[in-house]
């Protein structure tokens, strides 16, 4: 029964993918959209059923299908593990996934390749589910690479534009750098413990002392590199903002709610490993904090509505890693969930705006949309408040937990996190004010066509906004359902913060920070009505921020250019040289032959000389040499 359910869970989106690939065109747009959405909804329902079961029984479901790879002293099963963590993840992956599918039916309706789009989306969900439910690191790796692939396909969905294709390629390659790290981590663990299965790995790690601790540190580090690639952490984050080239639902699904959380999922899954390596945890926390800060500063000055959200995502992911680094896995998971709600809502809302403006993404060309798009405005406002950490919305609880954890861990991390969240509040409301307040700044023609989006778009927005508002309820301080639910997974018990004076003060500071951020944005953009400068006028530090610290340029200079130069050098010089050497051998033979030919000059007299000489040599060798 469980096996069937699990197979349905995994294969339903895949079936949707196959149907859309092969029959999508003949079925028509609405049908293919419906099929796509339904297939994900089926998965959602199944995961809900399984979730109920596991929540009640408290025992994970393990399913092994068949042997997949046989390596050295261990075999890799093709199997699934449905425990608390994966089911929780499944719930929001498939849940938000269904909403986004629903949303896409309307959003992509004008695109001629809608069935392809749905096929890719379904495939993505399929791989994401595989990633989440895999019972060992390798199955997870299938999903891991698979979502990377779908990301590639979806970012480059409008493949006629080579810049989009470049962005897609960049995403795939950046991800692959992380993948290599993950693979190395798998190797180390596999070699050390002869298994890559999560359950057995856990017991092995906790019991065995024979393995050199350096290897474990190295493994944790390698796995973290993998997580960095997928979850867009420094130094591998640059692909995520570029990934906004894809259609907006993709940004919402992949780059906000699901795929980028894979890194966090993996670290949480492997918590037993990371708990053993405090050094790596420190690295994770530092990198998380740094990412949160760097991305937040960049987001301050971006003018593209989706870029702001993208950097905001990177920043939030940084906060989650900060929590992971502090060993507070539940907190990170909590923030993943709430973040999924409000970030999906924000992205979909921005999609709704872009849709209304026929593709305009520059906030300097927007404004005043409050009146024409009330539903979009309200839902996005709720989500913005949530992400800014305003009481009592979901973001407040989760972010506060993170900051509290950081505070108890290291005060510097807390400061960085707090600054990042103040900035978050600022740039989110900068976005809101620029987009929805004041008067419309676009062209007349756009103004003429302004309209609220259709129901299929607004319904998911409303649902997500509600979730963003109340989602914090799953893990309220004092009544931490999530903590208890996830507790069996963690080897180190999570200490709940006792709600004392410090804690309330911290909450207050966080709330005050959020409000300060909002207030600054209000002063600047709502009250004074300032507008961001045009590209050419940006100077000073804000230019550095606007150009994202020139990280892309630095990478280009440090890695891409040298590799290409090396490639050209190899192609033009080394290849010719080696080839020339081989031909040189041939030529040397030719020259030798030409010289030898001169000896054979036809002069019989000379031949006779050599003949006699030869005879003398032979007989003296035969008779005199002894």
């Amino acid at each position: 029964m469980d096996t069937t359910l699990a197979l349905v869970l995994v294969l339903a989106p895949f079936a949707g993918f196959l149907i859309n690939v092969f029959f999508g065109k003949t079925l028509g747009k609405s049908v293919s959209g419906t099929i796509g959405t339904l297939s994900v909804a089926v998965s959602f329902v199944v995961s809900l059923m399984l979730f109920m079961q596991v929540n009640a029984t408290k025992t994970p479901i393990q399913i092994a299908l068949f042997d997949w790879i046989q390596v050295g002293n261990f075999k890799v099963d093709f199997g699934f593990l449905l425990d608390q963590l994966s089911l929780l993840w499944l719930l929001f992956v498939t849940g938000i996934g269904s909403l986004i599918h629903l949303y896409s039916i309307s959003y992509m309706h004008d695109d001629e390749k809608m069935h392809t789009f749905f096929a890719y989306l379904n495939l993505f969900v399929f791989f994401m589910i595989t990633l989440v439910v895999g019972s060992n690191l390798l199955i997870m790796f299938i999903g891991w690479e698979g979502v990377g692939l779908c990301s590639y396909l979806l970012i480059g969905f409008w493949y006629k534009n080579q810049e989009y294709n470049d962005a897609a390629k960049k995403a795939f390659i950046m991800n692959r750098i992380g993948d290599l790290g993950l693979l190395i981590g798998i190797f180390i663990l596999g070699a050390a413990f002869s298994t890559v299965d999560f359950a057995t790995l856990k017991t092995a790690l906790e019991t065995s002392n024979s393995v050199n601790p350096n290897w474990i540190v190295l493994a944790a580090l390698a796995l973290f590199i993998g997580a960095c690639g997928k979850s867009a952490q420094i130094p591998l984050y640059t692909w995520l903002p570029d990934a906004m080239a894809g259609p907006t639902p993709v940004s919402a699904l992949i780059h906000a709610a699901t795929m980028v959380t894979a890194g966090i999922f993996m670290v949480t899954r492997m918590n037993f490993l990371f708990s053993l390596t405090p050094e790596v945890q420190t690295i994770i926390a530092v990198i998380g904090a740094a990412t949160a800060l760097v991305a937040a500063t960049i987001a301050l000055v971006q003018n593209d509505i989706k870029k702001v959200l993208a950097y905001s995502t990177v920043s939030q992911l940084g906060l989650m890693f900060l929590a992971l680094g502090c060993g507070a896995y539940q907190v990170a998971v909590f923030h993943v969930i709430t973040h999924a709600f409000f970030k999906a809502c924000l992205f979909l809302g921005s999609g709704s705006v872009i849709h209304a403006l026929h593709g305009e993404q520059d906030m300097r060309r927007m404004g005043g949309l409050k009146k024409v798009m009330p539903i979009t405005y309200i839902t996005m406002l709720i989500s913005s408040l949530a992400i800014s950490g305003i009481f009592p919305l979901a973001g407040f609880w989760s972010k506060d937990e993170i900051l509290m954890t950081a505070f108890h861990h290291n005060i510097a991390l807390w400061v960085i996190g707090s600054i990042a969240s103040i900035m978050t509040a600022f740039y989110m409301f900068r976005l809101m004010f620029l987009t929805f307040w004041k008067d419309f700044r676009g062209t007349e023609e756009q103004k003429h066509h302004l309209h609220e989006s259709p129901k299929l778009i607004t319904i998911p927005l409303i649902i997500l906004a509600i979730l963003a508002a109340i989602g914090g309820a799953i893990n309220l301080p004092g009544n931490a359902w999530l903590n208890h639910y996830l507790a069996p997974l963690f080897s180190v018990a999570h200490q709940e913060h006792v709600l004392g004076t410090t804690e309330y003060m911290l909450m207050g500071i966080a709330l005050a920070g959020g409000i300060i951020g909002i207030a600054i944005a209000y002063m600047k953009y709502a009250k004074q009505g300032q507008l961001p400068e045009e590209d050419a006028q940006i100077t000073g530090f804000s230019k550095v921020l606007y150009d994202k610290y020139y990280v892309d340029e630095v990478y280009e200079f440090l890695f891409v250019k040298p590799i290409n130069a090396l490639s050209r050098f190899f192609r033009d010089y080394i290849e010719t040289a080696v080839s020339g050497f081989v031909f040189g051998l041939g030529k040397a033979t030719m020259v030798l032959g030409a010289q030898g030919r001169k000896v054979q000059n036809g002069n019989i007299g000379l031949y006779l000389f050599f003949f006699v000489l030869g005879v003398i040599a032979i007989i003296s060798y035969l008779f005199l040499a002894q």
């Binding site: 690939v21 068949f66 042997d67 997949w68 790879i69 046989q70 390596v71 050295g72 093709f78 392809t116 390798l138 790796f141 299938i142 891991w144 690479e145 698979g146 692939l149 590639y152 480059g156 493949y159 006629k160 080579q162 294709n165 470049d166 390629k169 795939f172 390659i173 692959r176 750098i177 993948d179 290599l180 693979l183 190395i184 190797f187 180390i188 596999g190 070699a191 190295l218 590799i563 290409n564 090396l566 490639s567 050209r568 190899f570 192609r571 290849e575 080696v578 080839s579 081989v582 031909f583 041939g586």
Partner: protein
């Protein structure tokens, strides 16, 4: 005895194709190659049932040369690869109008015969004869039906011929020396030899030259790109799909078990060279303008990884190498076929002259993309199974090798996606691109299906090759 019939079938097939005339040739060739494939499946069946398929008969008494064929799991796997790819290669030629078609198809079958013989031979000299025999048809195929300037082609093909032949001569001297030591060319007798370290070193080096050129391992690779570019696509497929594997297979079958001490002593150099080939090939591929040349360099990178796996001398390395050989065989045939399909329509192999094809042929693009993904070893493709196993074995030797070899994951994705982007995506190309024909589509689907099926379920192949690889390892670690 049963195995001989397979060789006979292929040889007769070559003859029948040649006699059947230009019009029928392709069909007759397909029939015989399919027959051979079917027969090898039957042989597989026998092998699985535990029938001993080895065959030995006296052939020449002075010097002592036997007509010995050994059909264990490893040889069977390579045999299946050969007989499965041959019909595909023949079939891929259906869209082309070859001049003097009967000769080219006969040569393909003849080559298949020689390669099958190489995989089966268990007597040093017999093996050597088959090894060299395989060189003759490909020389003519590349020379007579190739493309590009005839003079330059001749130069490239001649270089290839002399280069590989020259390498093989060292192997022959190695065999002669072994014969003087063992008094027989039989594989089993050679395995029994206990040579000193110095002797093994020289034998190993003699073999290494032959194999390094054939595989090719840098810096012996310079023949490869040019010949791949100049040869007709069927020839390129034969070369890259099967013939390269002769070198790799020989490493496993002959070089390592006969001279294990030398392999162990110089393991780091050997793996280093192979891994250097991986990186070098990948980097050079980045900036190739010609699609076939790009694929040639990617092939260089992949076989470098396979060779590295083989030289780890671990069970995983050897097994991964064999898996990857098979996977690479199918992938590379598919990719070269894609290049051919584009060439049939655009008359060009320059990537710069392509682009914007995706809009016109979504099906073809999907197939191409799947092959690209297989080539970059996406999990759930067969290539991943091989590459993972090989990288894992490299890790067992040294972490650094695993990381350097693993760079193929990144660089491979880089050059393949870049190529795909410029060849297929972008604004719609002005030149019309007819959708793939049924034949073309069928072949691509078959290849992709094989790659994905074994990617998810590689157990049959693993089970097939494991016993013989373990046997080889026993000889290596004796």
């Amino acid at each position: 005895m049963d195995v001989i019939y397979l060789l006979v079938l292929l040889l007769v097939g070559a003859l029948a194709t040649y006699l059947s005339g230009d019009k029928l040739a392709s069909k007759v060739a397909l029939l015989f190659s399919l027959g051979a494939f079917g027969y090898s499946l039957y042989l597989l069946n026998l092998l699985e049932a535990g029938v001993n398929l080895d065959y030995t008969a006296a052939w020449i008494t002075k010097p002592n040369i036997a007509f010995a064929l050994k059909t264990d799991g490893l040889a069977m796997a390579m045999l299946l690869l050969t007989t499965a790819l041959t019909p595909m290669i023949v079939f891929s030629g259906f869209g082309n109008d070859y001049k003097n078609a009967r000769s080219i198809y006969a040569l393909i079958l003849f080559m298949s015969f020689a390669m099958a013989g190489t995989f089966l031979a268990a007597d040093g000299l017999l093996y050597y004869i088959f090894w060299e025999l395989a060189l003759i048809p490909i020389y003519f195929i590349a020379l007579l039906w190739g493309n590009g300037d005839a003079e330059e082609r001749k130069k490239a093909v001649l270089k290839f011929f002399i280069y590989t032949l020259g390498g093989s001569l060292f192997m022959l001297t190695g065999f002669v020396y072994l014969y003087l030591q063992a008094g027989s060319f039989l594989l089993t007798d050679l395995y029994q030899l206990r040579l000193s370290c110095a002797q093994q070193f020289w034998i190993f080096m003699a073999f290494f030259l032959a194999y390094a050129i054939k595989i090719p391992i840098i810096p012996f690779h310079t023949w490869q790109a040019k010949v791949y570019q100049k040869a007709p696509t069927v020839g390129t497929m034969l070369l890259s799909g099967i013939m390269l594997k002769m070198g790799l297979y020989s490493v496993l079958r002959w070089q390592l078990p006969i001279a294990p001490l030398a392999a162990k002593g110089h393991q780091y150099v050997l793996i280093g060279l192979s891994v250097a080939g991986v990186i070098y090939g990948s980097i050079v591929a980045l900036r190739q303008k010609d699609l076939k040349k790009l694929l040639a360099y990617s092939s260089l990178a992949h076989v470098g990884l396979i060779a590295a796996g083989a030289y780890t001398l671990t069970l995983d390395g050897l097994r991964g190498a064999v898996l990857q050989m098979i996977a690479h065989g199918f992938t590379v045939v598919g990719l070269f076929f894609v290049a051919e399909i584009i060439f049939r329509r655009y008359e060009t192999r320059l990537i710069a002259e392509m682009g914007g094809i995706r809009q016109q042929t979504p099906k073809f693009t999907s197939m191409f993309l799947l092959l690209v993904l297989a080539s970059v070893a996406l999990p759930s493709t067969f290539n991943f199974v091989g590459e993972f196993t090989v990288l894992y074995s490299l890790f067992q030797v040294n972490l650094g090798f695993a990381i350097l070899g693993g760079l193929t994951i990144i660089l491979g994705a880089y050059y393949m996606l870049k190529m795909f982007q410029h060849a297929m995506l972008g604004e719609v190309n002005a030149k019309p691109f007819a959708d793939v024909t049924f034949n073309e589509g069928l072949l691509l689907v078959l290849i992709v299906a094989v790659l994905f099926f074994f990617g998810l379920y590689s157990k049959p192949i693993t089970d097939l090759i494991s016993p013989s690889i373990e046997n080889i390892l026993i000889h290596i670690n004796r």
